[in-house]
């Protein structure tokens, strides 16, 4: 197990395959049935790129995910908390993850997770209406969005404008097929670039998530 080029993310090379891990802040607990590796006094949870788009982006070679220990994170579309749990490992006990999702059924699993992990704050709300949770969260250093909505870019920009600090970083997992099934992904992506750049955000890096997720693009932006 060695530190990878990305903060708080560890890696292991086995033959041709590269495995990623995060150091668990809560020992003796797996979140979604992932493999756990014990080394020294620490416990490392394997990060599955099929289940987590952030992990897929790292394996596809991004040099930096701009997420640091102690960061405050706004996570839109948290679902049951697979990726959230790894983000929670990365920011550590000093950071905080505000996890927003609209579906009560998946929120249930997230509540169980956040009862164990004190740095995950579950918020049952609609990310399309950021003003509805103004009283429930604070400004953040980092915005992560993974919602399969037609207007996902609009949602992303609205939340960034309201909650992301100046100079903060934002990641958006663009799902071409939910924005427009009939268009070619490349066309959809171009439309997304335009929309983001028009808002004054800077796109630093883009990364296709093939072969882990089809027709997905991870965009790294700076506010």
């Amino acid at each position: 197990m060695k530190q990878s080029s990305i903060f708080e993310v560890y890696e292991e090379q086995k033959g041709k395959r590269r495995f990623l891990y995060t150091k668990s802040i809560l020992k003796g607990n797996d979140v979604y049935g992932e493999r756990i590796v014990n080394e020294g006094n620490d416990e490392y949870r394997e990060w599955n790129p099929q289940k987590s788009k952030l992990c897929a982006a790292i394996l596809n070679g991004v040099p930096n995910i701009f997420l640091r220990k102690g960061d405050f994170v706004l996570y839109l579309g948290s679902s049951t908390g697979t990726t959230v749990s790894h983000v929670s490992d990365i920011v550590g006990t000093e950071g905080l993850v505000f996890a927003i999702d609209i579906a009560p059924i998946v929120m249930r699993d997230l509540v169980f997770l956040s009862e164990k992990r004190n740095n995950i704050v579950p918020v049952l709300a609609d990310a399309n209406m950021p003003e509805t949770y103004r009283e429930r969260i604070s400004l953040v250093d980092f915005l992560y969005q993974d919602v399969a909505q037609k207007n996902q870019v609009e949602i992303f920009l609205k939340n960034a404008r309201m909650y992301l600090k100046k100079g903060g970083y934002a990641l958006i997992a663009v799902k071409a097929r939910s924005i427009d099934v009939s268009k070619r992904p490349g066309e959809v992506y171009r439309q997304v670039f335009n929309e983001i750049e028009k808002s004054g955000m800077k796109i630093i890096d883009k990364r296709n998530l093939d072969p882990f997720q089809r027709d997905h693009l991870m965009l790294f932006c700076k506010y």
């Binding site: 405050f72 000093e94 905080l96 505000f98 009560p104 929120m107 249930r108 509540v111 956040s114 009862e115 004190n118 740095n119 995950i120 704050v121 579950p122 918020v123 049952l124 103004r134 009283e135 429930r136 969260i137 604070s138 400004l139 953040v140 250093d141 309201m162 909650y163 600090k165």
Partner: protein
């Protein structure tokens, strides 16, 4: 100048340098007013709001954010459970029970036919067959039968299986009765026009009463026939006439020729009923149904 800002942590008075100069933890509307009067603070505009939100980006508040949001979210999940969820679960339960009881019934028939194939062959209704076989001395074996002679020991497990299947049939009918009740409460009009089970299936397919109410009648007519509809659009095959509503008594008893017309009329009335139900109007289900029956009376 100072700003007043309230969130789940409390109500705060924040000055120009973004320092908190006064606070009330666990706000009430009256607290906010009192602080407002005391400091003559103003509500922040959008620019100021962002810097104020930044004040709370502090580890000191993490624990409070966590615990209060956890409670609020739990309450939110609790309140999100509506009658629609109950209908969805009940419909799925009924479908599961039907599937399981049919599978077991097939096994029961095969097993029982070893000793009395003639009767098993002659009775096609599962529930009647089961009832008669389980009641002692009602089923007589033919004089010259293909059935083997079973010892008491060998009959017992067959009958035990039959008993359990009968329990499943009873469970199904009691769940249907329950579904009737919930549907009557949630959408009495749809339930009256379409019938509780079909109405519930439509509701499950539409995912919520709101979405069902917003649907045009032509969509409701073809709910559940998506595969056929898209095949029609793609290849020009014949268009489907009905989806889930095919099981409605009006359609079951009608001649094939009339199916399209009846399905359209029925879907129209269901669409009206769903809208009335969603906006909590009066009960007009019986009127809608009578109109339908009069129009399509054979």
């Amino acid at each position: 100048m100072s700003y007043i800002f309230s969130n789940i942590l409390g109500t705060f008075i924040i000055d120009n340098n973004l320092k908190i100069i006064d606070r009330v933890v666990y706000q009430h509307a009256s607290d906010e007013k009192r602080l407002l009067l005391k400091h003559g603070a103003v509500k922040p505009d959008n620019d100021a709001l962002k810097s104020i939100l930044g004040v709370f980006k502090d580890r000191a508040y993490s624990e409070k954010f966590h615990s209060i949001n956890l409670e609020l979210t739990k309450a939110g999940i609790r309140d999100s459970v509506t009658d629609e969820f109950l209908v969805i679960e009940a419909v799925h339960a009924i479908d599961d029970i039907t599937k399981v009881s049919n599978t077991l019934m097939k096994r029961f028939r095969g097993w029982y036919a070893l000793q009395n194939p003639e009767y098993e062959h002659s009775e096609t209704d599962n529930e009647i067959l089961l009832g008669n076989v389980l009641k002692a001395n009602t089923v007589k074996k033919e004089k010259i039968s293909m059935g083997a002679h079973f010892s008491k020991e060998d009959i017992e497990p067959v009958m035990e299986l039959g008993e359990k299947i009968r329990v499943l049939y009873r469970l199904r009918s009691s769940q249907e009765k329950y579904l009737d009740g919930v549907m009557g409460r949630l959408c009495p009009n749809v339930s009256e026009v379409a019938g509780a089970l079909i109405g519930a299936r439509l509701l499950v397919h539409a995912r919520s009463l709101r979405r069902l109410a917003m649907m045009p009648a032509s969509t409701i007519q073809l709910l559940g026939a998506e595969q056929a509809l898209f095949r029609h659009m793609r290849t020009g095959a014949r268009a489907p006439r009905h989806g889930l509503i095919v099981a409605h008594p009006l359609l079951v008893s009608a001649p094939q020729k009339m199916h399209g017309k009846i399905a359209r009329g029925l879907a129209d009335k269901i669409a009206i009923a769903a809208k009335v139900d969603y906006f909590r109007g009066k009960f007009i289900g019986n009127k809608l149904r009578e109109e339908l029956e009069k129009k399509f009376a054979a």
